[in-house]
């Protein structure tokens, strides 16, 4: 009978009286338990396939327009800004390679994750937060449904699956943005550009980019769900959950980016 919900309701008031350091370690402990509960429940039947697909669709739809626009602009501007520097050395023909390395290794996963943290993370935090304060999560629990499995596991799996797909899409759209700049200035054909774009990329680049996206996706999902699932204090709590989901996820994404870049650099 010991579940996350019960624990929150019972420890919520205690946290108020403690100092920030104690509260910080209690939060760490709770997050740790939350992640362990996710791994305990996400991969044992019954699976919520329908809900996972619905959530994947939601994640994709929520971010698609913004990601398309941002990806295209990032590719276009990055190419445009790099041109003068490469031009000084007469190396503008290296632009596709430079753009591909920058985008595939770092920008595509990072930009996608930051946008998704804002759009999807906040949405998950607010949705679950609102469900918590209006007792919808309790209603689910008392009607014989495991809310953690139905609400948390599905959303975390959805972001973990959808963010890598969106990051790949961002990379391709950014490539298109870069191509438009290169084609306008050098008149390079699309096939040549594509060849030059993919030539410098190695298996490690693709793998690290994929791993990064998966980690970022998991982070966005788990942080959003955690903030929402344990929100309290009425409507104020919903706002805090949404805000906390974005800020914490972005902060963690930057830290993960540094760690993964450092680790992958050992394999190059």
């Amino acid at each position: 009978m010991d579940n996350g919900n019960t624990r929150t309701l019972q420890t919520g008031t205690k946290a108020k009286k403690r100092g920030w350091l104690t509260s910080f370690f209690i939060s760490l402990y709770k997050i740790h338990k939350f992640i362990i509960q996710f791994f305990k429940e996400a991969f044992v039947p019954p699976f919520e396939f329908k809900e996972i697909v619905r959530q994947c669709y939601e994640v994709g739809v929520r971010s698609f327009t913004l990601i398309s626009l941002t990806g295209f602009i990032v590719g276009l501007i990055f190419t445009k800004q790099s041109r003068p520097s490469l031009g000084q050395f007469g190396a503008t023909s290296w632009l596709p390679s430079l753009v591909s390395i920058a985008i595939m290794r770092a920008l595509a996963p990072l930009v996608t994750a930051l946008i998704a943290a804002g759009k999807v993370g906040s949405s998950i935090g607010a949705e679950l937060g609102s469900m918590r304060v209006t007792e919808q999560i309790d209603a689910m629990e008392v009607s014989g449904t495991n809310p953690f499995k139905f609400l948390v596991c599905t959303r975390v799996l959805a972001t973990t699956l959808a963010i890598p797909i969106l990051a790949t899409y961002t990379g391709l759209v950014a490539m298109l943005g870069g191509y438009i700049n290169v084609a306008t200035n050098e008149g390079t054909s699309f096939s040549t550009f594509v060849q030059q774009f993919f030539d410098p990329l190695t298996f490690t680049d693709f793998t690290s980019s994929l791993i990064k996206s998966i980690v970022f996706g998991f982070t966005i999902g788990i942080v959003g769900c955690y903030q929402g699932y344990f929100s309290n204090k009425g409507t104020e709590g919903v706002g805090k959950a949404a805000n906390g989901a974005v800020v914490t996820a972005m902060f963690l994404i930057f830290i993960e980016e540094i760690v993964i870049v450092q680790i992958t650099s050992w394999f190059r």
């Binding site: 009978m1 309790d138 209603a139 014989g144 449904t145």
Partner: protein
């Protein structure tokens, strides 16, 4: 209007609570609650705000854990059941929340189907539709089937919330402030619905309220929660026929005296 007499089996308690204690930090909400709910009975728990009425039914439904004492629901000790057993037990208990707790993102139909689809594996579409129709008929809101919760009035939301719990044919109903925030006429409608549910679905119920009209119209027995314990129990008249200074004001300040 007094409550119609219901057939109650006083030899068959469906909920037995002994020495229940619950605290939040230094605030001792429940300080040794003893209670029995009998088969077919509507028990009204009265008390001022913050006296632990809702905490009591949240412990009964397993949403909160007790600090001390035993809570036996339909033959299961709620403190000792496994998560799977608790899930099975919860299907036999209906919980009507104070704010209805309808799923905002689902239509009324989806709200009603949700517990059914998830708890009755292999149930067919026809059977689901029939069951949805039945409970909507029971609460008198068939016309709202395709509406979203945000399009419903407070009273309608309460009724749909009750319909959602009825869809699993619960043996016990727990009502948390069923008339809170409703106008007097709608309150009477909800009170009548609670009595109809008791009669039609043969449920035993705990009704948490501080509305004396609700208590009088729905309760076979009233239990007054004061200082974390049940101080007075009996019929409406028995409970309020007293000079107890803790009970009297509760009655005196109410319009139905």
């Amino acid at each position: 209007m007094n409550k119609p007499q219901a057939p109650i089996d006083y030899n068959n308690p469906v909920i037995t609570i002994k020495g229940l204690k619950k605290s939040f930090d230094d605030y001792h909400v429940l300080r040794g609650v003893d209670l029995e709910l009998f088969q077919g009975e509507n028990l009204v728990v009265l008390g001022r705000s913050g006296t632990g009425k809702s905490v009591l039914i949240k412990i009964v439904s397993g949403l909160l854990t007790a600090d001390h004492g035993s809570v036996n629901v339909l033959g299961c000790d709620i403190n000792k059941v496994t998560p799977k057993e608790l899930q099975e037990l919860r299907i036999r208990i209906g919980f009507s929340f104070q704010n209805s707790a309808l799923y905002d993102s689902m239509t009324v139909r989806k709200n009603l189907e949700f517990p059914l689809v998830r708890n009755r594996k292999g149930i067919g579409k026809k059977e689901i539709d029939a069951k949805v129709d039945e409970v909507l008929e029971a609460v008198g809101l068939r016309q709202t089937i395709n509406q979203m919760p945000s399009e419903l009035s407070g009273g309608q939301r309460k009724r749909i919330g009750i319909a959602r719990t009825l869809i699993l044919n619960p043996e016990i109903m727990l009502y948390d402030e069923p008339t809170a925030g409703l106008d007097p006429i709608t309150c009477i409608d909800i009170n009548e619905l609670i009595n109809e549910v008791q009669e039609q679905y043969k449920t035993s119920s705990i009704i948490i309220t501080h509305d004396l009209t609700c208590a009088k119209q729905t309760g076979d027995r009233i239990a007054m929660l004061l200082d974390g314990q049940f101080q007075r129990q009996g019929t409406f008249e028995e409970v309020f026929d007293t000079d107890d200074k803790r009970v009297k004001p509760f009655f005196d300040y109410n319009f139905i005296k």
